[in-house]
Symmetry: C2
Subunit: 452 residues, 2 copies
Amino acid sequence: MQFEINTEFLEQVHDAIQRNDIRFLSELTHDLFPADIAEILNRLELDDAKKLYNFLEEEVASEVLVELDEDVREKILESLSSKEIAEKLIDNLQSDEAADVIAELPDEKQDEVLSHIEDEEQASDIVDLMNYDKNTAGGLMQKELVAVNANKTMLECVRELRKHADHIEDVYAVYVVDDDEKLLGVIPIKMVLTTSLRSRISDVYDKDIISVRTSMPAEEVAGIMEKYDLIYVPVVDGLGKLVGRITIDDVVDVIKEEAEKDIQMMSGITEDVEHSDKIWMLSRSRIPWLLVGLVGGIFGSQVIEEYEGQIRIHPEMAFFMPLIAAMGGNAGVQSSAIVVQGIANKTLMAEGILRKLGKEFTVGLLNGMICAVLILGYNLFFSDSMALSITVSVALLSVIVFATLFGTFVPLALNRYRIDPALATGPFITTTNDILGLFVYFLIGRLMYGFY
Amino acid sequence: MQFEINTEFLEQVHDAIQRNDIRFLSELTHDLFPADIAEILNRLELDDAKKLYNFLEEEVASEVLVELDEDVREKILESLSSKEIAEKLIDNLQSDEAADVIAELPDEKQDEVLSHIEDEEQASDIVDLMNYDKNTAGGLMQKELVAVNANKTMLECVRELRKHADHIEDVYAVYVVDDDEKLLGVIPIKMVLTTSLRSRISDVYDKDIISVRTSMPAEEVAGIMEKYDLIYVPVVDGLGKLVGRITIDDVVDVIKEEAEKDIQMMSGITEDVEHSDKIWMLSRSRIPWLLVGLVGGIFGSQVIEEYEGQIRIHPEMAFFMPLIAAMGGNAGVQSSAIVVQGIANKTLMAEGILRKLGKEFTVGLLNGMICAVLILGYNLFFSDSMALSITVSVALLSVIVFATLFGTFVPLALNRYRIDPALATGPFITTTNDILGLFVYFLIGRLMYGFY
């Protein structure tokens, strides 16, 4: 049942498609869940994928459609007419899925598909959903829900539920509204089973309900659902009218995407790319931070140039330049990663910025001393220059302490100015610490060589 | 309703606790959700937190307990007797939450608390759950669920539901089992409302059901729930017997933790730490990779030492050492981040390793050329050494291409040997690229200076 796709299996499917082995293919598509079929389609050659897709029954085909990778979906939809898309696929989808699929189509085709949808209410729901920014609660929600007026009885509530149960995928709750369709509260579905059918809804429903506004950013919706352990959340418009609901499976995708965005940002990638994207996109997403690194490196080269005379006399100074620069980068990235996570988690708010810096100072001092002592031992043993040995250790300690503080401060500062702090945990911290590290190193070097 | 804690508000709460303002405090605790109260407690001074916690009603107190930060929960539980914990708190919790809370207690206290639990079935459920590794399906699941024998009728199913509805927080489905308690399928709760009460369950239940084994790693459970968009999943033991269920809100935490672990690993942090952890823990979590960086730096220094003569004659070679090292690190981290995400996403499986490397090679070549041309322009303008200008550009191009390939290859290789590929996207890649970059730089330098 849990099922793993390997190359061998894909070969088998390919062969079956080539020789049009209807029995094999219909068994395959009957036995598997839509998400599995989508995974197979994602990994087949496009021509095979199209053929296999045409094999699917209408209802399965629409479920598979929403699970496909965007580029495969695009290609498959291209090969279908607007009428087919509207009648065979969209008709079987929930409003939010339908709106997402249609939004991906080229503009002309969008209108054509919409005009072919027979159920007018569905068409207007879809058009409505397409108006919301996809990174807001409005963009995440679906229109399908069961609502009941507070003045009705539980019996009427059950009738309402029965009426809608068929075309709503999952029903976990009935929402309670007033005469103006304003959201009042909720009846968890288990309450329907345990409450007398004669009860008035206004007497039994749960008034302590958390809802979100259509305009709330998707990230915030995710935060609220996580914090309050919600499986579903109703969405209201500016007037408090119930307009939709969001289920947690849609929000899980938001959470995953957020984490991915952070990782990419921390790695110096400016756009959301995947390995499968086109080469120029992969290149474009990486070049900005490479250029920043380049400019940083040029500044670094100017710092070193200042000390050209010193290097000429003491070329051994050059040996440890990369070590100093790299250690500053490493220590800086470590502290900023912890701060960035603390900000994302909201676990970092409690204490003031000075206490935070104080704590990181201690950590930096501790780790800096460990590293400085080790490298001192190494140099006393292997290097003949006392001045160099001391310079490297003192510079290393200073650089680690400084980088630790800097790595803590920068994301906090960025966050205050509402810039994503993950930006700090990457090439920016590394580059700045490189330059400052070299500066400190040569400054201490000049002092030490003067002294000895 | 959505509610933001600020320092001012915390001051207010502190004052109310100090002057024992019962009215303010009971209003506060009545109006807020348990997750909000927990957030306040997390951020109050410990003495205040204990006082406020004692103010809560039993049921709220137990819900708040599970939402608290681990260290605050530990402190609050310390101030309560085993009897109080068992009777006031554990009694109101779901089995999985109860097991988690008890598992955090010191060993002696665990037994005491268990012996004070009055409901024997609950006690045995908790003991049972405590046996599972917390990073497996068994460790995530709860025992509370509604199951019904396939030979019964829907009427009996409804009775079963009514019987359990009270002490199960959320009921989304009734599981169908055979005489040996083996899982056969599921009745979504909406089916209960739309099916005739006289139907035999064996005729109506849904047999296409996804379940997980108790031993399945938590990560894998998360992957399955994500892939199939599941809100809940039943858990079976080795014999296929139904033993529990997992709801998605527990899995959301797993997903978040996974992402955090990846970010920490990529930043060179070896343990799961937070800024609020003790200084020696913060230090310990960071020192291993700093030491790796240190050793890498020492190797780098030896590479440079080999070329001491060259630096003595051409000290300008030293100017661009950090630039070359840093650019290799940046480019390497960028590619490995994309590969690591592709592995995590399972979007990367389709093509062979050679095609992946080929694509990254092109991206590296493109970006390397852009950077090389820019730095060449800079050097032709500002440097008088043609040899240096060419060396820097050629070395930069080579280093970026090499680092891009290396950053792609290493996580793929680690993954093949079942080592977490995120390990690669951090100090390891940076350090290795530093050393190799310097080596390439001086090699090309020697060539160029020989030539000119």
